[in-house]
């Protein structure tokens, strides 16, 4: 009788353990395919600048864990961009932005996807969703709420456009000032990233 109870306990434990091991949340994978870009817009007291890292095409994967608490979706995945690839369409501005972002010391700009308010609807032509990302720049990582636009490209592919205003000071960067402060760069930057993705189940 004692042996039976012990055997039953072991069996029950193994069954539970097995169940826990094989349980997986409802996951979706998105693979970044092509034509991805990151735009940064800012201004000085003498001009405006728009810098872009174009043609990012690393086949990174973003994983969605559905049905988490509060209805939000947990995300896992990131994109790594090379700061040296920024192009401000003006050689002097390009060189200055790279120097300001400390590209030689911190060559990567990383965007980590943390969560999303809801899963995008593919039958919707365009829908707006909010989400959380962590941006790592110049050795500092900071979380931001991002406004996303999802443009559906069919049932299995979509274009995700995330935008957010950030400050140089968020990353402990001093906005450049020249000629004793006569020429000043404003602290605010508008960041927009566009990712083309394909859904794989």
């Amino acid at each position: 009788m004692k042996n039976r109870t012990l055997l039953f306990s072991i069996f029950s434990f193994l069954l539970l353990a097995f169940q826990n091991q094989t349980y997986k949340p409802n996951m979706k994978h998105w693979v970044i395919i092509k034509n991805c870009s990151l735009k940064v817009g800012g201004s000085t007291n003498v001009n405006k600048f728009n810098c872009v890292i174009a043609n990012y095409a690393n086949p990174d994967t973003i994983t969605f864990y559905k049905n988490t608490e509060k209805g939000s979706l947990k995300l896992k995945g990131s994109i790594e961009l090379n700061v040296q690839n920024f192009d401000c369409h003006h050689p002097v501005m390009t060189a200055d932005l790279r120097k300001t972002l400390k590209a030689k010391v911190f060559p990567k700009l990383v965007i980590r996807f943390i969560s999303l308010d809801k899963y995008p609807l593919f039958n919707d032509q365009s829908n707006a969703i909010k989400g959380i990302v962590a941006i790592e720049l110049a050795g500092v990582t900071k979380r931001f709420e991002v406004n996303y636009r999802f443009v559906s490209n069919g049932t299995k592919s979509l274009i995700l456009v995330g935008s957010r205003q950030v400050n140089f000071s968020d990353f402990n960067i001093i906005p450049p000032r020249k000629l004793g402060g006569m020429i000043k760069t404003n602290n605010e930057l508008k960041v927009e990233f566009t990712l083309s993705m394909k859904v794989i189940d």
């Binding site: 000085t44 007291n45 003498v46 001009n47 600048f49 003006h90 002097v92 501005m93 060189a95 200055d96 790279r98 120097k99 300001t100 001093i174 450049p176 000032r177 020249k178 000629l179 004793g180 402060g181 006569m182 020429i183 760069t185």
Partner: protein, 135 residues
């Protein structure tokens, strides 16, 4: 010595107001002319701002000594003496410095020409002041 220091100080104060006031007005009304200054060649962290604003006094004291040493060579009215002094300084000191600067640094011709004329006007203004207060 006292005469050099006093004239240098007076010229420095006047030059400070004219130079940085003029620069402020130029940035305000002709911003497109200053886009090229967004260049990593220029100090951008503000660590040398004091040195930048001291320039008016550095050039004034240097030129006050130069004037005191060679003022007998400049003849005529105080306006003519001031103009000639500014021209001599520009030819002897500014032109060679601007030449080597343009040849060595990645800056535009417009930029280096503006520096030359900025220095020429500074030297003429100090020359006029010195010709008046230390004839």
């Amino acid at each position: 010595m006292k005469r050099i220091l006093l004239s240098g100080l007076i010229a420095g104060c006047i030059l400070f107001i004219l130079s940085y006031g003029g620069l402020f007005v130029a940035v305000k009304f002709f911003p497109e002319s200053f886009v090229e200054y967004n260049n990593p060649l220029f100090n951008s962290d503000g660590s040398r701002d004091v040195l930048f604003y001291l320039h008016a006094f550095i050039i004034s004291f240097a030129l006050a000594w130069f004037w005191d040493r060679f003022k007998e060579l400049f003849k005529g009215s105080f306006i003519f003496r001031g103009l000639e002094f500014g021209f001599v300084y520009s030819m002897v000191a500014l032109l060679p410095v601007m030449w080597i600067t343009f040849s060595a640094l990645d800056i535009t011709l417009t930029m280096v020409l503006s520096w030359f004329f900025y220095g020429l006007i500074q030297a003429i203004v100090t020359g006029l002041i010195f010709a008046k207060i230390n004839p």
